[in-house]
Amino acid sequence: MTKQVMTSNKAVTEAVKLAKPQVVPVYPITPQTTISEYLAQYVADGDLDAEYIRVESEHSTISATLGASEAGVRVFTATSSQGLMLMHEILFAAAGMRAPIVMADANRAISAPLNIWNDQQDSIAQRDAGWIHLYVENAQEAHDTIIQAYKIAENKDVLLPVMVCLDGFILTHTVEPVELLEAEAVDEFLPAYEPTHAFLDPAKPMSLGTLADPEYYTEARYAMQVAMDNSKSVIKEVGAEFGEKFGRKYDLVEPYKCDDAEIILVAMGSMCSTIRVVVDELREQGEKVGLLKIRAYRPFPYEEINEIVKNADKLAVLDKNVTFGIGGALFTDICAKCDNDTYGFILGLGGRDIIPDYIKECVELTKSGEKKVNWIGLKEDE
């Protein structure tokens, strides 16, 4: 096992190299850009035997990616923010056509006002497209999750695309030590993609992307719901198998000091690292707090969440996104599925740092229970 220092973007592409997609259409966008560059270089150097398509937009990126997937090969792409928004329509088509695409999203804020820095509004805005959404906390997880994403997406009981979400700049441009997976072991873990449900072969013609009238449409959408439900156990199994093979186990959620916690903070992505430090600090001061990291946002693992939070008095949900008129998206989901007294916190928008004091403020506001939805770090008018 080799350990190297690299950004999450690099860690993603190192995993892509090991997963060996045959077609890679990519369009550059900050802060995903270095992914598009690394992959181009691998292809140029012969380190990745893939057709790299220099597409003219993200709309065509996902369209070409979907076309290639339907033609029966493993594919990869990556995007961010406005690019993901431009893909929006085709994300639904990709899920509806049950294409096991794996895509990395370098989480970034959405315009207007224009902002290139991190929050999670972009992927959250795509949550109803029918994709599996996995959020990663660091470069190692980014590397490991890409490989698992293919195994999940291509599982015959799932066959849904997977979006691997990594926080822009905080992860995409920050270097960390990463233990790279070994090619042979990855080959054993992730067999070649052999589709039976969708391919374009003149010897066995299929028609794909058909028109379904009211007689069939509901059943097609229900089948996606079943696939999404199936994906819960598949994500767990794949995470466990990965752990056995590579020593790092993954699950739908990851609790930290939740067993006796009175207040549990619920969050996704890189801020979990900061929260963990705050939890330790508050624990030292005698406060019974814990962290519940949500790795799989879709499917939403509410049974697993409830099992962990059932004894907590209060939940504090931290969102790097807004669903205007109600609160953060994770907050509303938790409220819908958990009976705990739950408070929502919107913070870290457009790249504003989430400092430990902000997290402590979330805990204090949860204790006081004054407001259900709170904006943290907001500069008040002078």
């Binding site: 056509m97 049950r98 294409a99 299929m206 028609s207 992307g209 058909t210 059943e219 089948a223």
Partner: protein, 81 residues
Amino acid sequence: MVSIGCGISEPGSTRNNKTGSWRTFKPVLDKEKCVDCDNCILFCPDGCIGKEHEIDYDYCKGCGICKVECPVKAIEMIREE
């Protein structure tokens, strides 16, 4: 239930849908007059005129292109009963 992603594995299966029922006028070929130019075959929107210029009434929608494009007026349109 539907197939995964509503993909269709049976090519040419619209043949199950007999569009002949759409027809008001029916083309009838006088084989004696036919000069084998194949215009009717080429121009049929439904591809339902065979090699020997036999018309497949299961699918013929009765558009009448074959009648108009026949250079020797070998096809007549007759109202369906």
